[in-house]
Each structure stands twice: as C-alpha cells, then as structure tokens.
C-alpha cells in the first residue's frame, strides 16, 4: 500500500486528491471520493456563497471522512467565500489564481490545511513562506486553467524549491502517471479528468461520452490572449474561439463569446459547451465508481513502484 506524509497530515487512506473542477465537483462527488479513501474536493468556483455552503453541507452529510474545497482567489465574493470556508471547516482548502496569505491565519485557526496550486517553483516558495501546509504543482496537461510548464518539468523543480509536501497534478489518470509522480518527488497526486466519468459525477452523459471518446490529440488551449488560457476538448465552441481569438475582435467581445460555455458543457450542449478536460482524456475509456478509480490507480502504481528495480542491473 502506498502511504506518504500527506496521508497522515490530512487523515486520508490514499494520497490522491480529486481536483476541484468548476461547476462539476459538487458535494456528492467529493463525498464519494473521500468515502473511497481519497480526498474529495468541492469546487467553490461559482463564487456563490449559498451554493457552495449547500454543497459543503451535502458532502458533510454523505461522509464522515476528510474532504476539501477549492477556491479561486479572485472575484467579488472572495472575502465572503473565505469566511464561509473558515466557518464550515473542511479538512483542506486548495487555492488557485493568487496567494492565499490574506486568509491563511483565519483558515489555519479553523484547523484547515491550506494547499495552494503553484504554477512555478518561485510561487511554491512564496506559498511555503506564507504558511502553506503543502502545494499542488499542476502542469499544463491538465484540463481547465493551465500554466506554461509540463508536469514532468514542474514537479521535480517545485520539490527542490520547498520542504513541504508536493502534490503532482496534470496528466495523471492511471497508476503509471501516479508512480511517475512519486518518482519525481511528489507525495501525492491530484486527478481531475478521470473523475469526470465517475458514476458519482453529475455532469451530462454527453460530456462523459466526449471524454470516453477522446484521443491524445483531442484537447486545445484557448484564451491565452486574455491572460487565462484554458484546456478543453475540441468542440464547435472551442474551434470557433480558436478561430476568432487572434482576429480583430475586441477583448470584451471575445470574453462575451465564452460566457455561459461551462454551464452549457455541464448540461451537455454540443454546440455551445466548453468541455474542460486534460490531455490524458485519450487514456480514459470506461465509467467506474470513484472507489474503483482510486483502487485501480493506487494498485497499479504500487505494482509499478515495487517492480522498479527491474531497470537496475
């Protein structure tokens, strides 16, 4: 069985986080992952305090095991969301889009572990100094918001930069990716795309079918012009966005073009949906329960790590 310091730190069985996916990771999915021994994470990306509060309550009702919440540190409601998180006391908060320093004392006083997503070694150092308990190093293979560095290059450099545990994310969907992440120095992994097809994931079946059908070349990055590049499955929406992104269209119109595209994807709208998914989608070809997914990843990783000596002569 694979154990790392992150398991003891948070009180989870397996060192595997389910990525906080905007509009997708709800209380039911997070609870299913936590029940299966991983760390389920509720997304607070909607920015809607009541909605997030409700989902955290649902998770709490469905599992007595630790779960987390993911929050983007921008938007109007961020102070209210941060306060809600301190009140609800999930075991972990993962943060994106900035430095959580402002809320660090409040969250830590509530007994919450703070684990920011770091896009570079320097950011990881700053988060460590601000008091982070661990960092997620997410490479650009991931779905959703992406940086420039690949997981392969980012993870070992972040591991060298900090002494807190590093969770590898981006492009990990099976035991091979997990084993590789541990070899790069990570103490845990975060998986998003594979949980899109978990039976407990509530997105429209059409979205799941697109992930199941995807190949290695099925994703595209758009939105770099506006400073927020996003990886999604190629679709009528994303192809059209890519086509107009570098035309004379104004920033405002470009931004307007994408409004509602995530909601459309979750509802299975072929034409208008922006179906966020990672490069590893091509590897994912069956729907399973969260428990089956976690078990399969961890068992395969364990077998591979045990067999690693075969390369040494």
């Amino acid at each position: 069985m694979i154990k790392s310091s992150i398991c003891e730190q948070i009180g989870i069985e397996y060192p595997i986080f389910q990525g906080g996916m905007a509009r997708i990771s709800d209380g039911a999915l997070a609870a299913a992952v936590s029940e299966a021994g991983g760390l389920g994470i509720v997304s607070a990306a909607s920015g809607d305090v009541n909605q997030v509060s409700e989902q955290l309550d649902i998770a709490k009702k469905l599992t007595s095991k630790p779960f987390g919440v993911n929050v983007m540190l921008r938007g109007e409601n961020i102070d209210a969301l941060a306060k809600l998180i301190a009140d609800k006391k999930p075991a972990v908060v993962t943060t994106g889009a900035g430095n959580p320093e402002k809320y660090m004392d409040m969250w830590k006083a509530a007994g919450i572990k703070v684990i920011p997503v770091a896009a570079s070694a320097s950011f990881a150092k700053i988060f460590e100094r601000a008091g982070a308990d661990a960092v997620v190093a997410e490479g650009c293979e991931s779905g959703g918001h992406v940086g420039e560095l690949t997981t392969m290059a980012l993870v070992p450099q972040v591991c060298d930069a900090v002494s807190i545990p590093v969770i590898a994310a981006g492009g990990i969907a099976d035991g091979r990716g997990a084993a590789a992440a541990f070899m790069l120095g990570a103490e845990g992994i975060q998986v998003g795309t594979r949980f899109l097809v978990a039976t407990e994931c509530s997105i429209n079946q059409n979205y799941k079918d697109k992930v199941l059908k995807a190949s290695d070349t099925s994703t595209i990055v758009t939105g770099k012009r506006l400073g927020h590049p996003v990886r999604s499955l190629k679709s009528p929406f994303s192809r059209e966005y890519a086509k107009i992104e570098y035309t004379s269209i104004s920033n405002e119109d470009l931004e307007q073009f994408a409004v509602g595209s995530l909601a459309a994807a979750v509802n299975g709208d072929d034409k208008h949906g922006c179906f966020l998914a990672g490069q590893i989608s091509g590897l994912i070809n069956k729907e399973q329960t969260s428990a089956e997914i976690i078990k399969e990843i961890m068992e395969q990783a364990e077998e591979l790590l045990k067999g690693g000596a075969k390369w040494v002569r």
Partner: protein, 74 residues
C-alpha cells in the same frame, strides 16, 4: 546608489536588458513581464534589499517599487 537604481539593476539583470532601457516610470507590463517572471524578480529584490516583498502590494512601476521598499527600509 539610490533605491531606484538598485531596482533597475536587479530587473535589468533578470531580463538581460541594458539598465538604460529601464526608467523610474517603467512598469512590468511595459517590459512584457508575466506573473511568473514578476514573482522571481520580487524574490531577487528580497535578496538585494533584505526585506520581504509582497508582489500584490509592491506596485507596478520602478518608482512605486522604490516607494514601497523605502517605506519598508525605514
């Protein structure tokens, strides 16, 4: 050297530019510095000045950075 000159030296060295290409009014945006570069420059400024520099408080231009650092240095 003034605070402004020391800042310009650090930025020019990081970006492999001539110090003469950067003035007090120059901003990170003018130089095409992204958030990843900015954070690295802030850490180099910390080494140079021996104080903690917070990217979100430090300002955008050389002049603003200098005011921020001077206030910290007392």
């Amino acid at each position: 050297m003034t605070t402004e000159e020391r800042i310009i030296k650090v930025i020019a060295s990081h970006l492999e530019m001539e110090e003469s290409e950067i003035t007090e009014a120059t901003t990170f945006e003018d130089l095409g510095v992204d958030s990843l570069d900015a954070v690295e420059i802030m850490m180099e400024l910390e080494d140079e000045f021996g104080v903690e520099v917070k990217a979100e408080e430090a300002g955008k231009s050389v002049k603003e950075l200098a005011d921020y650092l001077n206030a910290k240095l007392g």
